[in-house]
């Protein structure tokens, strides 16, 4: 047993205390921060604060009140009144306006207007002009009603037992399960990549020959798998810590990050799906590592597994809108696509329990199969050089 722990701790420290691993570990949160900053910068650049002009023939905007101020990071667009089109046009050509609107005399009955621009204003600016018109249309209404109509309603979606809820202000409740699922998959594919690398490397430089003189292949393999899972868990814990920190800090600046509601059911489903998935992928990677003879060859075969794992991510738009479509259900049952599909669906629907159960059963069976496969491939291929182990041999009835 002591040999087992020796191998496991060697494997763990060999990968974790390396500069490359640490860099990969910290680069993920850094990239996330970078993306958030980039999105804010893009929104800010998209919202052009150049004024919008208007020529009002209807009298609606005679005593204009301005629209509600835009929320940060968008910028408020000032509205300027013009009396004739020539000056407005000249200002537009000179770049003092991003666009101008002509409101005809019969606007209140026909609702027709004209927008003139050189380059069509971005949606954010056009929305502000619409809000400006609405604010003035509602000028005669009681303040409470005008505010409600301008602010719109806030739809809070609840599941029938009311344990889960989501709304525009609390979008974090939807995003978090997806984020957790994606991080889980990133973590498990990188750490199982290490496993494959470790197996094939020791084979390549002949360390394996010496190892098997003093340790049984079963011990060697299981210690490596345990170490690999520990590496993956380390990665996930560090990332989770970053997310929790970001939420705690971000709550002070962005109120919508508050109101986080975790449902125990959701956590249970994610764990139940991800644990067998993790073991399955580790097993497959170890099997690949044992069959190939060179590290670069292993990487190519690994790509074959990585593509189906990430495939559901391509369909993210479809899955989010229709999380119960036949395609989504089918992909939740195929072992390689299941982890990502379940992670994407869970934020947007309550997955029927029979589907979760079937998916977990399939994953557990595949995990057992993958581990069996890895063990067999390892025993057959561990001392074989220069020649790749064929799949046929693994499944043949040859005794090992």
């Amino acid at each position: 047993m002591s040999k087992f722990w020796k191998i496991a701790s060697h494997e763990y420290s060999r990968h974790v205390f390396r500069r490359r691993f640490l860099m990969a570990l910290f680069s993920v949160p850094l990239i996330m921060v970078f993306m958030v900053v980039l999105i804010i910068v893009i929104i800010r650049m998209d919202s052009n604060p150049t004024p919008i002009g208007y020529i009002d023939h209807s009298g609606l905007l005679a005593n204009a009140i301005s629209q509600p101020a835009a929320k940060w990071p968008e910028r408020t667009v000032p509205m300027l009144a013009y009396t004739d089109e020539t000056t407005a046009k000249a200002d537009l050509q000179a770049g003092k306006l991003q666009a101008y609107y002509i409101i005809p005399g019969d606007y209140l009955t026909t609702g027709q207007a004209q927008e003139i621009y050189l380059k069509e204003p971005k949606g954010i600016a056009a929305q502000q002009f619409d809000a400006f018109l609405s604010a003035n249309l509602l000028a005669n209404q009681p303040a409470e009603i005008a505010n409600r109509i301008l602010g719109g309603s806030n739809l809070i979606v609840q599941s029938s037992d009311k344990t889960r809820e989501a709304s525009k202000d609390r979008f974090i409740n939807i995003l978090l399960p997806i984020l957790a699922g994606i991080l889980f998959i990133v973590g498990m594919s990188t750490s199982s990549g290490y496993l494959m690398q470790a197996v094939v490397e020791e084979k390549e430089n002949r360390t394996m020959e010496i190892m098997v003189t003093s340790v049984s292949p079963g011990q060697l393999m299981s210690a490596k798998v345990i170490a690999d899972i520990a590496i993956g868990v380390t990665q996930l814990l560090v990332w989770a810590l970053f997310i929790v920190l970001a939420l705690i800090i971000g709550k002070n600046f962005i109120p919508s990050l508050g109101g986080l509601k975790f449902s125990g059911e959701m956590i249970a489903i994610i764990v139940a799906v991800m644990v067998p998935a993790f073991i399955m992928i580790s097993g497959l990677m170890a099997a690949v590592g044992a069959t190939v003879s060179e590290a670069s060859e292993g990487q190519q075969i690994m790509g074959l597994f990585t593509i189906p794992i990430w495939l559901p991510y391509i369909f993210i738009a479809v899955f989010i809108q229709n999380p119960n479509s036949p395609l989504a259900i089918a992909m939740s049952f195929f072992p390689l696509t299941a982890p990502m599909t379940i992670a994407l669906r869970i934020g947007f629907t309550s997955i029927p329990s029979w589907q979760v159960i079937v998916s977990v059963i399939i994953l557990v069976l595949s995990a057992i199969g993958a581990v069996w496969l890895a063990g067999r491939a390892f025993r057959l291929g561990m001392l074989r050089y220069g020649q790749r182990l064929h799949w046929k041999e693994i499944f043949s009835r040859q005794r090992v």
């Binding site: 003139i116 619409d130 018109l133 609405s134 509602l138 309603s153 809070i156 979606v157 809108q321 479509s325």
Partner: protein, 411 residues
């Protein structure tokens, strides 16, 4: 010269005999054309599309939904609302029962403090916040009309002008913001150039590093000079890359031109013929820079594994335009985009993005090409210095400092 040709021929035949390369060169345009034809067919509408929509859409449910008005705002329902879509319930218990019985697919609860807070609870058994099947827009409309004491005329205008006529004074043809290709075309061009330059350059890296690793290089250097080897490899792999560029860009252009009739695209989406020429120029120069850098890397690393880890050093500048792709596409003439498309290490990708987004002054393209050509000359020279027997045959581990020192000519 003879030996250079020999190296060149060997490189081309080795790569061409690889199935993965042949697949990338011919398979991808074929798949692209197939996807395009299918998409074109789907656009026209036929049974295949119906099957596909059925596969990706939610199972059918009843359209009707219920509401429970605890605030007393809804006094009457406007005549324009189709009856039966929204059913009133006196309390939540009866609405919930109707949902269980399958009479409604979900229900809304309007709380007493709606006017102050604006919250509406929406209860759905499948809990899908983004579902398109709900009637929430209809409910919003009913609430608005009732808040405005039944004035439908006013309520219509609240959501902006009913009919907005858009007039553009700009002389150039405009690309509609809403058209998917406005974003997709420059995006595809960027990715294409990134992939082509990178894959051609990494072929070079792997070919140098592999020969170094398995000691073929030691034997080769007996009868050939390092300079001949480098020239043969760069030119040979460059030719292959060129063929690949022509195959991909050519297919893309033909498909795009055909799409003018298939998808009824306005003229603004046609890439001018000069695009192909600029594409070739920027590919060749960009390839010269990155391939030589990769070859330098290959000369210094001891084996293939370390080589692939060290590539990030070289390709980092090429990734920057990919990161900022949305800025490049949305504001192709902004300061940032101009700088990126002139700076020699980012220009092969960034300039192509801008060219496909349109409206780049001719002098900028020319300047970028000239700057890139100068850089290519400098880089090729310093890499040629790096490519000598001493470093090619040493097995010392790679480090960053050594690489940059060698590049700058300090040893």
């Amino acid at each position: 010269m003879n030996k250079t040709l020999l190296v060149l021929k060997h490189e081309i035949t080795t790569i061409l005999s690889r199935p993965s390369f042949l697949f990338a060169m011919f398979g991808i345009p074929i798949i692209g054309a197939a996807v395009f034809i299918i998409a074109g067919q789907l656009n026209k509408g036929n049974p295949a599309q119906n099957l596909l929509t059925q596969l990706i859409s939610s199972p059918q449910t009843t359209l009707a939904e219920g509401y429970v008005d605890q605030s007393g705002i809804i006094k009457d329902i406007p005549a324009s609302v189709q009856p039966g879509l929204l059913v009133a319930f006196p309390d939540e218990a009866s609405a919930s029962q109707a949902m269980v019985d399958g009479k409604i697919s979900g229900y809304y609860v309007i709380p007493p403090d709606y006017i102050q807070k604006g919250n509406i609870n929406y209860i759905r058994p499948d809990f899908n916040p983004l579902s398109s099947s709900g009637q929430s827009a209809l409910l919003d409309w009913i609430l608005q009309v009732n808040l405005l004491a039944g004035n439908t005329q006013l309520a219509t205008l609240i959501n902006g002008p009913k009919n907005l006529e858009k007039v553009s004074l700009s002389p150039a043809p405009q690309r509609a913001e809403s058209n998917m290709l406005t974003f997709f075309l420059p995006y595809a061009v960027t990715m294409l150039f990134y992939i082509i330059i990178l894959s051609a350059a990494s072929l070079l890296l792997s070919s140098v590093a592999k020969e170094k690793e398995n000691r073929v290089l030691e034997i080769l250097l007996l009868s050939i000079t390092p300079r001949q080897l480098l020239t043969g490899k760069i030119v040979g792999l460059g030719l292959l890359g060129l063929v690949q560029t022509i195959a991909w860009v050519g297919t893309g252009r033909i498909l795009l031109a055909r799409s003018g009739t298939t998808f009824n695209l306005p003229i603004a989406f046609q890439l001018p013929p000069s695009f192909l020429i600029w594409g070739l120029i920027f590919f060749l120069l960009g390839y010269a820079v990155y391939a030589s850098l990769m070859a330098g890397l290959g000369a210094l690393v001891p084996n293939l594994r370390e080589a692939s880890q060290a590539t990030i050093l070289v390709i980092f500048p090429l990734i920057i335009p990919i990161f900022l792709i949305s800025v490049l596409i949305n504001e192709p003439n902004s300061l940032l985009a101009t700088i990126l498309s002139l700076f020699p290490l980012t220009s092969p990708v960034a300039m192509m993005t801008r060219l496909s987004a349109g409206g780049v002054p001719f002098w900028q393209t020319l300047l970028a090409a000239v700057l890139l050509a100068l850089t290519a000359m400098v880089v090729v020279r310093s890499v040629a210095r790096m490519f000598h027997a001493q470093s090619l045959l040493s097995g010392q581990p790679f480090n960053r400092k050594m690489f940059f020192n060698a590049l700058l000519g300090k040893s």
